[in-house]
Symmetry: C2
């Protein structure tokens, strides 16, 4: 039991660079900040999608991809601290309890997502729309991998 908690904790910690931040941010603010991060990434994913489907603006795609990578690499694991597994007052969360116990798998998804976000930023800089399309698809797949397994339906 202790071992599985330790493993799970390790996995969640692996999401963040350090746990320093979570110790100083109230649980309800951790939930708000992580939702803000995902929301802002979602806006930028939408912009890249629009560029891929319509006329391609290299600078806009670079800016969007850099925003996504910057957020992905910011150590959001620190925003899943103790007490953030369920609603706090009117601050709701859609994260499933399994997220906090599936440490190894959550860590893997987080690493894959970050790698995909970094690849997207890299190819965006090249301005190669076909490469961006592929990299964008990979980021989307990684978003979905986590949503399918660890996000509650609305």
């Amino acid at each position: 039991m202790k071992k599985s908690i330790a493993r799970a904790t390790l996995g969640v910690l692996a999401l963040s660079l350090t746990t320093l931040a979570s110790a100083q941010v109230k649980p309800e603010d951790q939930i708000r900040y992580r939702q803000a991060g995902y929301s802002f990434m979602s806006w930028n994913m939408g912009k890249i999608k629009t560029n891929l489907e319509g006329s391609y603006n290299k600078d806009q795609v670079i800016a969007a991809a850099n925003a996504i990578a910057g957020i992905a690499n910011s150590g959001m694991g620190a925003l899943y601290g103790p007490g953030t597994d369920k609603a706090i007052g009117n601050v709701k969360t859609r994260v499933k309890p399994e997220f906090f116990t599936d440490g190894d798998n959550v860590g893997k998804i987080a690493r894959d997502f970050n790698a995909a976000a970094n690849e997207l930023a890299k190819v965006a800089a090249s301005g190669d729309a076909a490469a961006v399309k592929t990299a964008f698809g990979e980021v989307g797949k990684n978003c979905k991998a986590c949503h399918d397994k660890y996000r509650l339906e609305d």
Copy 2:
């Protein structure tokens, strides 16, 4: 009158790389996305502050500064489209009406903010805590310049 509207519009447009995105995002979602961006930057500013006041973790500061710069450069001006100057249903906004008419000044604040955020990301990479402290202060000053003038009190 027309000229001043045109000038104001130009200033707000200057905040974004293109206006493409705002045309396709509902006004209430524009408000939500811009709030998400500021909120996530705020978390990362807090982390840098903690590092400057306590033990300095170079990697955490780099990650936080890159997240801030990525968001700052993402073209948030597109999130101030028509209809986003006041609450929409239960989606509130604290932006003052002057923000939408002070185009030149808003444009200047936005450019200064972006330059400060980029400088912060640059010096963070060097690991020079004293330089980060100065650059962090500049970003904070630019946040405050906009809040003081264009944000309603709670």
